[in-house]
Amino acid sequence: MWIVNFDQTSGPVSVASGCGKTTALRILAGFEIADAGSVTVNGKDISPVPAAKRDMGMVFQSYSLFPNMSAMENVGFGLRMRRMAAAERKRRAGELLEMVGLTEHARHYPHQLSGGQQQRVALARALAIEPQVLLLDEPLSALDAKVRLQLQEQIRSMQQRLGTTTLFVTHDQEEALSMADRVGVMKEGKLEQIAMPDHLYAHPATAFVAEFAGTMNRVPGELTDAGQVRALGTVVPVHGDQPGGALTEVDVLVRPEGLKIEAVPGGNGIVTGRAFLGSVTRISVRLSGDVTVKVDHPSADAGSFAPGTSVRISLPGAAVLVTQRR
């Protein structure tokens, strides 16, 4: 696998999608040994440092609380390993339990807590040792949607309050885009792109990132000699790398909000469906060649695009990403 050096960041980085994310996290934590490469934190190579001395807190996907200890004892475990005095340890653990909203459950054992409560205790336990880096390995994937949303907000607010560099691994793109200061997308063990969520969404570096982060349409196009692409009757510039070789037939990747739709007789598409999403309506259009695209249009005007309506779909003119045709 590719070995990735994560630079110290001032905020969280989410590594989403693809295989290798958990392995990369475990290498960072010191639970796995990389075949090659190094792990550096603050410019210091910690590759030979054992996991117990890396000063990294970790929260796992499966609830990793010690079953024979109460919530308070779980949170205080790391402090006990650091030989903190009992009174100070109790005070600190109490503070952290209050931060995660579980003061009244301090004496409860893991089997007496719900999944969300257990993960909050696990988070408090990881933060108790004041780690340099906090690692979260899909901590919310085993929880239901409502609890997951609550914990997302809680993790985000705690991270901002404490200022701890946090690496959050998830396969949920919405979770990654909504929580992170910077998002990294991994494919087959290699980081395809690290960027701020809005930049990642608007300017994906590769077709994989483009299709991973949000909905993406694939429209047939042809490369021109001038390094542009002709698609949907329009010639637009190409953003990013072009497919190698002598290929001229490509697929143009464009977001639903990046397409323009007009209701005209004899257009290049027929509306096949509509989905109301609030302020926008997502309109499905079948183009010639059995290609279907989704276009976002303000809901106030979407009434004129009933199923069966003839429309013209075009590209506004902004640079687009192209990839090899499927």
């Binding site: 996991a51 117990a52 001395k53 890396r54 970790m58 010690f66 390993m81």
Partner: protein, 199 residues
């Protein structure tokens, strides 16, 4: 608080009627219960009848009873301690470091069930230290071997439910002494869970 009822809704069964329905069993279940009762109770009655009902009251006053009881308790304690000392760390180590040999370990630990006890005893006699031979504590070694299949399976089932690897990783991330502390703690939790009588 006044109860609100809907006049159009069908009448509900009373609690007493529902309880009565739960208590009555089909006839064939009574037949099976009676047959099972006879199968288990008649031999017990026969044993009591043969030995005499008054005999059991004299057991406690028999010569050597207290010595035999104390020896039995000692052997039980030694056997239990030896089984736990041998099996708990081994099972934990295999779960953490050598999961691939678990099928092999399962096969080995089932051998005491398939090998005749006489052969097992001869084997234990052959390898036991000379200081134990001729003492009652040799029995403890034999009991450890005989109890091994049940002890291993109980521990294995408990550890599988524990997600031990994640717990050890978590403890490892919390500090230098975390792993050994957690290892000891896990041993105690595992032993407690797996040795708890299951009613």
């Amino acid at each position: 608080m006044a109860a609100v009822t809907d006049a159009a809704s069908p009448p509900t069964r009373t609690a007493a009627a529902r309880a009565g329905r739960r208590r009555s069993l089909p006839v064939w279940r009574w037949v099976i219960l009676l047959g099972a009762g006879i199968y288990f109770l008649i031999p017990l009655y026969a044993a009591l009848r043969f030995s005499g009902f008054g005999t059991f009251g004299q057991v406690f006053s028999q010569v050597g009873f207290s010595d035999a009881l104390i020896l039995s308790v000692k052997l039980a304690v030694v056997t239990t301690a030896a089984t736990l000392v041998l099996m708990v760390p081994t099972t934990i180590y295999v779960h953490l470091r050598l999961p691939r040999i678990r099928p092999l370990l399962e096969s080995i630990t089932i051998l005491p069930i398939v090998i005749p006890p006489v052969v097992l005893i001869l084997g234990v006699l052959d390898v036991s230290p000379p200081s134990l031979k001729g003492t009652p504590y040799l029995l403890a070694l034999i009991y450890v071997v005989l109890a091994m299949p049940f002890a291993y399976r109980s521990l294995d089932a408990g550890l599988r439910a524990l997600d031990l690897k994640t717990i050890v990783d978590a403890s490892n991330s919390l500090g230098p002494a975390g792993r050994s502390r957690c290892g000891g703690s896990s041993c105690r939790t595992c032993a407690r869970r797996c040795c708890r009588p299951r009613c």
